[in-house]
């Protein structure tokens, strides 16, 4: 909340801005997805409206808002309207806990005949000490929106899509949670900012009372947890219902799965939920395994020294540093979002029994093995 009026206002604006970032990223991502898929498949994609087809986004938005509102005759009206709204909740709540940069330190100032400040504003919706648990807990509610949508629209295809989606989400949540255990064991904390701070500098670790250091690699989690990274990546694809795990909306079998009966703005809300999930997943991937907002080969002190030439006063310096970190963390997130799109248009979809086999018979044992090996190695290394 904050201690005085300015801090409360800044925090409120910050939360609204975060939500707007998530919502505004969706049309851009849809454009990237359509252009990217065309690029991958040697087509043109939308290139007629505006430069590079960028105004297609606007046309799509207008179309979404102007569609006829339609409800199936036997649909459960309340649940039918409820599902798209719930689809937004988990992703936007989970986004709150993600740190995008170092806090901005604002010095005390005098305004309106009063002394304000000093403030420290974290680049994060809310500072949550148990960030990982919070994000896991909130995003596990994502299955309800699909289930309610599938059941509420009184359509067999929708129901099958909803059931598939929730079964898949529950199955892969296990592998995902256990893959994260490796990260938690190595960094010894649930705090996402703490995890990011521990990945500063170049690769260096202690093993059996001897310290090793490799100056040509950054100190990223992916070098400690390569298997964990791969498992987390795959299960995140399944959690967000993206290809190769997009069975809930397999158009050859289920028309469009749980959103078969949805059109217009309600459909758009499902899209925002899906892309919001992808955004959170990409942010988690970058924080756990790729150093979050840290810049590889550039330490925090070096950055501050360099920016000191351009900023006047500590407040401006702090704001500039945070801005650079924000840009770096968002670059990493956008790279992962591109990987989501890239995989979608490259790899074909699994069959349903293959999906369950991979989830329960392959991913889960590997994740368990990874967690146990990590625990043993850490025990040996620190003994």
């Amino acid at each position: 909340m904050g201690t005085d009026l300015i801090e409360v206002l800044i925090n409120a604006v910050k939360i609204i801005a975060l939500f707007l970032i998530m919502v505004q990223l969706v049309p851009v991502l849809v454009w990237v997805e359509r252009r990217g898929s065309a690029f991958i498949q040697h087509r043109y994609g939308p290139n007629r409206i505006g430069p590079l087809g960028l105004l297609q986004l606007l046309a799509d938005a207008v179309k979404f808002l102007n569609k006829e509102e339609f409800i199936p005759k036997n649909a459960n009206k309340m649940l039918f309207y409820l599902a798209p709204v719930i689809a937004l909740v988990p992703a936007s709540l989970a986004l709150l806990a993600i740190p995008f940069g170092t806090p901005i330190q604002i010095e005390s100032l005098t305004a309106f005949g009063q002394e304000w400040g000093p403030y420290s504003i974290p680049l994060q919706g809310a500072v949550i000490p148990l960030g990982i648990v919070y994000i896991l807990g909130v995003s596990s509610l994502g299955a309800y929106s699909l289930l309610i949508a599938g059941w509420g629209s009184a359509n067999k295809y929708s129901l099958m899509g909803g059931l598939r989606a929730s079964a898949q989400m529950i199955s892969y949540e296990l592998a995902m949670g256990i893959a994260i255990i490796g990260v938690i064991l190595i960094y010894g904390t649930f705090d996402l900012t703490e995890i990011t701070l521990q990945q500063q500098g170049h690769l260096s670790f202690e093993f059996m009372d001897q310290s090793y250091s490799l100056s040509f690699l950054p100190n990223w989690g992916v070098f400690y947890q390569p298997i964990g990274f791969f498992l987390f990546l795959v299960s995140v694809f399944a959690e967000t219902n993206r290809t190769p795990f997009d069975l809930p909306e397999a158009e050859g079998e289920l028309v469009a799965g749980y959103h078969t009966e949805y059109g217009g703005f309600k459909m758009n809300l499902f899209y925002i939920g899906e892309y919001g999930h992808m955004l959170v997943a990409s942010a988690l991937l970058s924080i756990f395994y790729f150093g979050g907002y840290n810049i590889p080969y550039v330490s925090h002190d070096q950055l501050v020294d360099f920016l000191g030439n351009y900023a006047s006063g500590p407040t401006a310096l702090s704001a500039l540093t945070s801005l650079i970190y924000f840009i770096v963390s968002f670059t990493k997130i956008l790279l992962f979002l591109w990987i989501f799109i890239w995989v979608r248009w490259t790899i074909p979809r699994f069959r349903y029994d293959q999906l369950m086999d991979i989830g329960w018979k392959t991913m889960l044992p590997w994740a368990l093995g990874n967690a146990i090996v990590t625990a043993v190695v850490i025990f040996v290394a620190r003994a």
Binding site: L79, I128, P129, L130, V133, Y134, L136, G137, V138, S140, L141, A143, Y144, L147, I148, G150, W151, L159, G162, L163, S166, A167, M169, I170, E173, G177, F190
Partner: protein, 118 residues
Amino acid sequence: MENIVFYFLEALILLSALGVVLVTSPIYSALFLVLTMIGVAGIFVSLDAFFLAGVQLVVYAGAVTVMFVMVVMLFNLDKEKKAFSKGTGSNFLKAASVGLIWSILSTSLLYVLSDLGK
């Protein structure tokens, strides 16, 4: 401030828990159960038990109740509703379960009261 949050969560939990038992449609009652779980997680947060709140969300709201909702959605609900609301067999079961719960409650109350008396 904390009082307001507490009373809000209490109201949410009590109302949705009542909804679980009073609503006739099984699907609504399963969804009310989710709301109850989320409310309990909120209570844990207000008691600074963040880990417990997260686990409450992941395990109960996220996994167990999703199973309930999924299974309920596979039923032909009209048939189930009829089977549970009519007939001597189900009436007998209802009366028996109400009696059982009442006897448990009254016995535990009596036990506590007699303990307090000492």
